[in-house]
């Protein structure tokens, strides 16, 4: 079938169970300039072209700096200062001149001049490696200006654009107008990359980690991006387009749901930014099962004060006057740059000082301020507040955290400030927490299983590393059994138990999770309707039997076979 031959399909990792059809807009293509044509190079002309491009880049950077300072904040604009200095760097300047004198066109000379410093930073640890991204940014800006390629403004894309990019950083996605973008696909990234999580939180169809093949897709091409199958289909048939458009329809259910035999399951959403709150509500979430508070602390020069935090928490509570909002206390470590915290450059930040460890040790003041804001919000806000602690690995840590809560309550008492102690819980993210689950559950109101980290730590498979993506599967027998143990420990100690990882949002696994005994499931807002629909079709007895069979399986493949029956 010759028609089929022309219909190429590229495969990556689906990020969202939605599909869409749209027109390709390339955002950040890694500078692929082809071979230089050295015969027509006039060094003085090329040097002048470079100077002009540099002048134009400087003007752009200054304008962006201004705009960001106004729209977002002075601290967020800092990165442009660094870029301006990289632009002026004498090392780059001399690299470009020597390239041009060796008959390279200016854009090739720029590419070559940046190659060494990028590699040098790339090989360093932690946040030094991020400087490589800064340099790439500056390099690509110059090359874009030199080659006269169109500049893509992510905030002003044509309707129905499918954005293709090497990768999308938080600052890229912050600019994206979700009302206009049909979806996106990236060369790099896995299911838990920033781009994928962003796509899910906004219900945007997306496929990540397609690889270099993506470069072959041309600007302006019509494609179907299918986040369900993980495919990007080039030149799709009419039927395929219609089918893709149909999955865009979301069936929103606004009421809480129960299984077919009447067991209530709370279906909540994970939230990382206040901007998501309305969308989460519109998707029919009963509440927030994981309210990440890092947004309050990142990208600024000093920590938010108590009142700013109080406002953020009460706003979330007001969005769900009849529901529950579970706030996770600050979960930060050496992998995220926070200028006002003395975050160590750690060889392995995921096994370092992060989460509750920092709150109890280096950031005690920050922790107390956050707890003060939370206890005040618990008394004043609509809706029901709950608070949970991240990365608890020992009972001692939990005891210390609970003691701090007590001390903060006492303080507020003494100051005559209205407050209430909310429901308290522990995130179960490590094998150590699983083994300590009975003692942890005894001390709190609830446990919440963070499957992304629990899978990473149980399987020793790093998040974001595509090479071990297959191991990072929460349906691996070891992870399933850890989850079972946690659920049982919670219930035996009169605590309720929820799940707030990616796994909770997979409607194909809802029966398994209900069968294991979960009371609450929290997920990206986009999957809430599908999971609610799944819950309503489940009989708890069948689900329990289904879970037992999955737990008996010895291999990941056997688990999947059981789940598909």
């Amino acid at each position: 079938m010759p028609e089929q031959m022309s219909r190429r399909t590229l495969t990556g990792t689906g990020a969202t169970p939605r599909a869409a059809v749209g027109t390709v807009v390339w955002y950040s293509r890694d500078s692929d300039l082809g071979d230089p044509d050295e015969t027509s190079v006039d060094p003085p002309t090329e040097l002048e072209r470079f100077e002009d491009a540099r002048e134009a880049a400087r003007a752009e950077l200054e304008a962006e700096r201004e705009r960001t300072a106004e729209r977002v904040g002075e601290q967020e604009a800092d990165v442009f200062d660094a870029h301006l200095q990289f632009l002026n760097d004498p090392q780059i300047e001399s690299g470009v001149s020597s390239g041009v004198e060796n008959d390279l066109p200016a854009e090739h000379a720029v590419k070559r001049a940046f190659a060494d410093p990028i590699e040098q930073f790339q090989d360093m640890d932690g946040r030094m490696a991020e400087r490589a991204d800064d340099l790439r940014d500056v390099r690509d800006r110059l090359i874009r200006l030199l080659t006269g390629s169109e500049r893509v403004d992510l905030g002003d894309l044509p309707d129905g654009a499918v954005v293709l990019a090497e990768r999308l950083t938080p600052s890229d996605t912050a600019q994206l107008d979700p009302g206009r973008v049909a979806g996106f696909a990236t060369v790099t990234g896995g299911r838990t990359s920033h781009a994928a999580i962003f796509a899910r939180s906004l219900a945007l169809p997306a496929v990540v980690g397609i690889g270099d093949e993506l470069h072959e897709v041309e600007e302006g091409a019509t494609v179907v991006v299918d986040g369900e199958t993980g495919e990007l289909c080039l030149d799709p048939s009419d039927e395929h387009r219609e089918e893709a458009m149909a999955t865009g329809e979301v069936d929103v259910r606004t009421d809480p749901v129960s299984t077919a035999d009447g067991r209530a399951i709370e279906v909540a959403a994970n939230v990382g930014q206040p901007a998501e709150l309305d969308g989460v509500r519109a998707q029919g979430a009963d509440g927030i099962g994981l309210y990440r508070t890092e947004f309050l602390f990142l990208d600024r020069q000093s920590p938010p004060d108590e009142d700013e935090q109080y406002d953020a928490y009460t706003t979330a509570l007001e969005t769900f006057p009849d529901g529950r909002v579970i706030v996770r206390t600050l979960d930060i470590g050496g992998d995220k740059p926070i200028p006002y915290l003395d975050l160590p450059d750690e060889e392995n930040p995921f096994l370092g000082e992060r989460g509750i460890r920092r709150s109890l040790d280096s950031d005690t003041e920050l922790f107390e301020t956050q707890l003060r804001a939370l206890l005040r919000a618990a008394a004043d806000g609509d809706g029901e507040l709950a608070v949970m602690f991240p990365l608890v690995t020992t009972v001692d840590e939990l005891d210390a955290a609970l003691e701090t809560v007590g001390a903060v309550a006492k303080q507020l008492d003494a100051e005559n400030v209205a407050h209430a102690v909310p429901e308290l819980g522990v995130m179960i993210e490590t094998p150590s927490a699983v083994f300590a689950a009975p003692e942890l559950a005894e001390r709190v109101d609830f446990l919440s299983v963070g499957t992304n980290d629990l899978t990473q730590y149980t399987m020793a498979a790093a998040r974001g590393n595509e090479n071990v993506e297959a191991l990072r599967d929460p349906t691996q027998p070891a992870v399933l059994r850890a989850i079972e143990r946690t659920v049982d420990a919670a219930h035996e100690n009169d605590a309720w138990v929820g799940m707030c990882g990616e796994m909770a949002g997979d409607p194909d696994l809802t029966e398994l999770l209900v069968g294991l005994g979960f009371d609450e499931l929290s997920m990206s807002a986009v999957t809430v309707p599908d999971v609610k629909a799944a819950v309503r079709s489940i009989h708890t007895d069948d689900a329990a039997a289904h879970a037992t069979r999955a737990l008996d399986a010895a291999t990941g493949e056997q688990v999947r076979t059981q789940l598909n029956e």
């Binding site: 002075e74 601290q75 800092d78 660094a82 301006l84 200095q85 990289f86 002026n88 400087r131 450059d345």
Partner: protein, 113 residues
């Protein structure tokens, strides 16, 4: 007459010699008439690197609390060292925004004097 001067300074900004403090540092060097080189305080002369290069300065990986050695050579060497010391000993939150304007302006005047 050689006018080479040097000074050892402890880096105060929380961010170390990265991002904004590094950018301000390099800008101050660029504005000066002296040649400026820096290194970790414990390094040899061989390790001195040009301070007018953001790449070179950032790649030193200088963190908050570390000492660096600054060598300035030129007509305004002393003033340049003063200005650079001020950049390195000003906490970051005073470097940016309106609070910083006075400090930055002073530094620039000194340097050009």
């Amino acid at each position: 007459m050689s006018s080479e001067l040097e000074r050892v300074v402890t880096v105060v900004p929380e961010a170390g010699l990265h991002a904004r403090p590094a950018a301000t540092f390099v800008e101050t060097v660029t504005d000066a008439d002296s040649d400026v080189q820096i290194a970790h305080a414990t390094d040899d002369d061989d390790d001195l690197t040009p301070a007018a290069s953001m790449i070179a300065v950032t790649s030193l990986g200088v963190e908050h609390g570390e000492e660096i050695r600054i060598v300035a050579d030129g007509p305004d060497a002393a003033a340049t060292l003063d200005a650079l010391e001020r950049v390195l000993t000003t906490p970051e939150d005073e470097l940016g925004g309106e609070n910083a304007t006075a400090t930055d302006a002073d530094a620039t005047t000194d340097t050009n004097a």
